[in-house]
Amino acid sequence: VRLSRRGLLGGAVALPALGLPAARAAAQDPGRRAVLVVLPLVRKDYVADSGTDTPNIEELRGKSLRFDRVIPECMPALPLRRTLVTGMRSFPFRDWKRTEGMPAVPGYNPVWDWQPVMMETMRQGGVETVYVTDNPIVEGARFGEVVRPGGREERAGGESVQDEIAAIRRQTKAAVRTYRAGIRRLRDFSGFVGIDPFDPVDAVEAPSIYVKPEEVDREGIGEMNGRLVEVDFDDVDELRSAYRDHVETVDEWFGRLMDEVPDDALLFVLGDIGIALGEHDYIGRGTPTSHRESYEVPFMIRDPDRRKVDEDVDWYASTHDVAPTLLSYLGLTIPGKMWGEDLTALLDDVDEDDLYDRPFSITASGSLIVVRDKRWLMVADREEIERRLYDDDEEVEDDITRFQDVANEDPGQLTDMSLAALAVAGGTLPEFGPDGALRPPRERGDDDSDDDGIPNDFDAVDNDEPDDNDDREAVGYDGRDPEDRPPAAAEDRKAARP
């Protein structure tokens, strides 16, 4: 059957029906289920660490497709959550506007109404959703059913390392109560459940960055939006011990949670953010450290059909890949504004080399950016005036070289990494004022050379150099005068608009 030549030239034609591929039509398989679990404040290296006992996370690692080199695409915990639920990169916080009740640090704002929301897309596609979290920005009709485990905020202050230890303990509590609430929701669900422990203090206070006093001058790191605290590192052992306890408690409760996760659901587990524990003279979350392990988090997918079990992927997956992957698994169309990649490609036997190129891992914390690849780690401030580069060769065991800033020795590498960050940011990195991202002032141009109030771009008539033809009436339309258009334009009025 085909369109006849006559028919096509003539107009209306009855079209033949023939089967179209089933791939797209297979959307919304009603039986599919997915579970998202966030491991709060868990570093990747502490999961496999000999000194930390994490049997449950270890067991899941053995059953999952693992992404070994994941750094969240932005930090700290609150902006990262925005990325998680929107699938949009929050890097480089160009959309930051100072928000009442939140710290005046780039990245701290709610999910804007122009951003997509993973749960909203799911519900529009007929998938039920439950999200268990104490995160105040996950609030409102767009987020569907939200369960509050009931955490309360207690401002911390962040004046000493003891406060960081208290913050870690709050994270532990958030994990316990959120997983407990999650266990109840997992017993009978359809569609999607997200279990995302969040300490509400992280929404009202940006975590402090603790640094040895002499480092401030040496590193030239500036005020860091008032987050910088100079301390002596006497309490590091206590801090590390508290952190170990945290990771083990999270693992214990994660194990109980895992008992309830059904085998027929896709399970996506990731850490939210790492923590520097005094390794390279920094303590805290989202610090400008040169210590890569302080950034890296666990990230794994367990497929109910057991595809790609116990495999490692080097590709730089990150937080913004979560939403597209979950939507794709549930058979839904990914909104265009979501930037992340659909990682179900790997389950469908696409080789990691054939995923779309992501040669660098790029992240932002406040006004800092961090760029890394297999060999190098760059920490730069927003204007890229202060840039530090570390030789972070993953093949090398010795940690010594990673302390040394080699920016001046390899400016080419520095440029490559800066350009990569610029490319992901769309061409420019924003600068920040006290109330939000700034647009630089306009360069003075020759706006209105004849001073008639109409900028040159809009002005057909140059009053300074009148021409014989310069008749304002004849212009027909000068952007200001609605009436008295010449006959030439009358033709337009007649032309019917569709």
């Binding site: 096509l8 030239l9 089933a22 791939a23 265009g336 990569a420 306009r442 771009d457 019917a496 608009r497």
Partner: protein, 512 residues
């Protein structure tokens, strides 16, 4: 920066010395090529037709009073889902092509740097290395890809990374007036040859050189209708189908540069569109009635009859394109491909033909003549044939939609929407407003309102499209809330801040 995976199929390079040596670079068959991703088992073919400088209101289907005869586009529209208000996400030709081919928004030109070999102005950059290209993504999924065009930018050096993703590239260099953009034409016609095209007020403008190149080229390479640029492009498309029909599924792009100025259709079409009038009675056919990119009507001193004739010449050229697109459709029918091919037709921008005192394209007058373009998708099964959608379809939706039709996963960077869901009875994510930009001007609106502003917002003009469809009465002063709301829409769409362009030079981005 990222390695370019698309030039050559990476599998080819990995195949090892012996195999690679045995395969000639000119080989077209893909027997040796193992796709790295996949398309759906029974994927349709896809045909993308790009309508350069095509105004929706000159297509009869959109406007029954059009000066142009467009029976083939009308028939295609009747078989298709048409979009009543499609607006390219960024304009003109260069940025619109980039969005079409990459599926990544060019708006708001934040990555603009003045680029050698392209016009100077925000938006004119090549496809960056880190952007996906639809033909690269399709190629990696094992789809045969082909593209034929005479668009001087696409055939020029700055878009070579796109051409290298193709299995079948059919560039045509026949746009005489624009040959300087790729390879300078060395035998321009004499000045006396072009007097019959040259308006007196343009007699010492840049158009002299362009017309001389055009006339020179055509005196050598053009002896019949078949040698006109559009005919060359579509003929190569028709010839490609002979090969592609055995390589299904395939993607074919047909992208003629006409009806871009000069408005130089074959003489019979010019006669059919209307009788000589205005300046043509004095022996000058106004095929290039403005100094690129635009002239104020008062500056070129043309009368109403001449403007009418310019419109007829534009209509004639569009009719000529329509005629050849019809032949392409017939070829599809002859090869029994219509019922297994998705046809996507989209304009990249329009052209102002005397409205608002302008001939050509002026960013500060980038009103409906320029932003309202035709857009239609013909489903192989005839789904939604003859239906209209109010969705503000745009150029960056094309790549994602075509990939989806073929069952190929779209890279996350492609930030258009998948419009193929419309054929499954679903709605794409809400797009409350259309947003676009042209040079350093910004556009936003919907079916009721339209705002046009310079990127500084020094002069934000608002039009009430319901009571003033011609967009001549600026009502910004009466509706400050609407102006603010649309300005915020633009800022949000740009990710929070709008880029700041330098005031002089190439208007390079200085931040924001």
């Amino acid at each position: 920066m990222g390695s370019r995976r698309g030039f050559t199929r990476r599998r080819l390079l990995q195949a090892g010395g012996a195999t690679a040596a045995a395969v000639g670079l000119g080989a077209c068959g893909d027997d040796y090529f193992e796709p790295s991703t996949d398309h759906s088992d029974d994927a349709p073919n896809t045909l993308l037709i790009v309508g350069e400088s095509t105004r929706a209101d000159y297509i009869r289907y959109y406007n029954p009073d059009s000066l142009a005869q467009t029976p083939n586009f009308d028939a295609l529209a009747g078989d298709s889902l048409t979009f009543s208000l499609a607006v390219p996400e960024a304009m003109p030709t260069g940025p619109a092509r980039r969005a079409l081919l990459t599926g990544v928004r060019s708006f708001p030109f934040r990555n603009y740097v003045p680029t050698k070999g392209l016009p100077v102005g925000p938006g004119w950059t090549p496809i960056p290395d880190h952007h996906p290209i639809i033909t690269e993504v399709l190629g990696e999924a094992g789809v045969e890809t082909a593209y034929c065009t005479d668009n001087p930018f696409l055939v020029g050096p700055r878009f070579s990374n796109f051409r290298r993703t193709l299995d079948w590239a059919r560039p045509s260099y026949s746009q005489g007036a624009y040959r300087f953009l790729n390879k300078p034409f060395k035998r321009p016609a004499t000045r006396s040859t072009i007097e019959r095209y040259l308006l007196p007020d343009l007699s010492d403008s840049v158009e002299v050189g362009r017309l001389r190149a055009m006339a020179g080229w055509n005196s050598i390479y053009r002896d019949s209708e078949r040698q006109f640029p559009t005919a060359r492009v579509v003929r190569s498309g028709i010839n490609l189908l002979d090969d592609l029909k055995d390589q299904r599924p395939f993607f074919l792009g047909v992208d003629p540069f006409d009806p871009h100025e000069p408005l130089d259709a074959p003489r019979v079409y010019q006669i059919a569109a209307g009788s000589p009038k205005g300046i043509e009675l004095e022996g000058i056919t106004p095929i290039q009635p403005f100094e690129t990119p635009y002239s104020w009507v008062i500056d070129v001193d043309v009368d109403d009859d001449t403007i009418q004739r310019v419109r007829e010449l534009y209509a004639a050229e569009l009719t000529f394109v329509d005629e050849w697109i019809g032949r392409l459709m017939n070829k599809l029918a002859d090869e029994n491909l219509l019922d297994e091919t998705v046809i996507y037709y989209m304009g990249d921008h329009g052209l102002t033909l005397g409205e608002h005192g302008i001939l050509g394209k002026h960013a500060a007058r980038c009103q409906w003549h320029i932003y309202h373009v035709p857009c239609m998708i013909r489903h192989p099964e005839g789904k939604l044939a003859g239906e209209r959608s109010d969705y503000f379809a745009s150029t960056h939706d094309v790549a994602r939609t075509l990939l989806s039709f073929m069952g190929v996963r779209a890279p996350g960077q492609m930030n258009g929407e998948d419009l193929s869901v419309l054929f499954d009875g679903r709605e794409p994510p809400e797009r409350r407003w259309f947003t676009s930009c042209y040079d350093d001007h910004l556009l936003a609106g919907d079916s009721d309102w339209f705002m046009l502003a310079d990127s500084e917002g020094r002069l934000k003009r608002l039009y009430d499209r319901r009571s003033d469809p011609q967009e001549v009465r600026d009502v910004a002063a009466d509706n400050p809330e609407m102006v603010d709301a649309l300005w915020k829409v633009l800022e949000d769409e740009a990710g929070g801040t709008l880029p700041q362009f330098g005031a002089s030079g190439g208007k390079a981005v200085i931040g924001g």
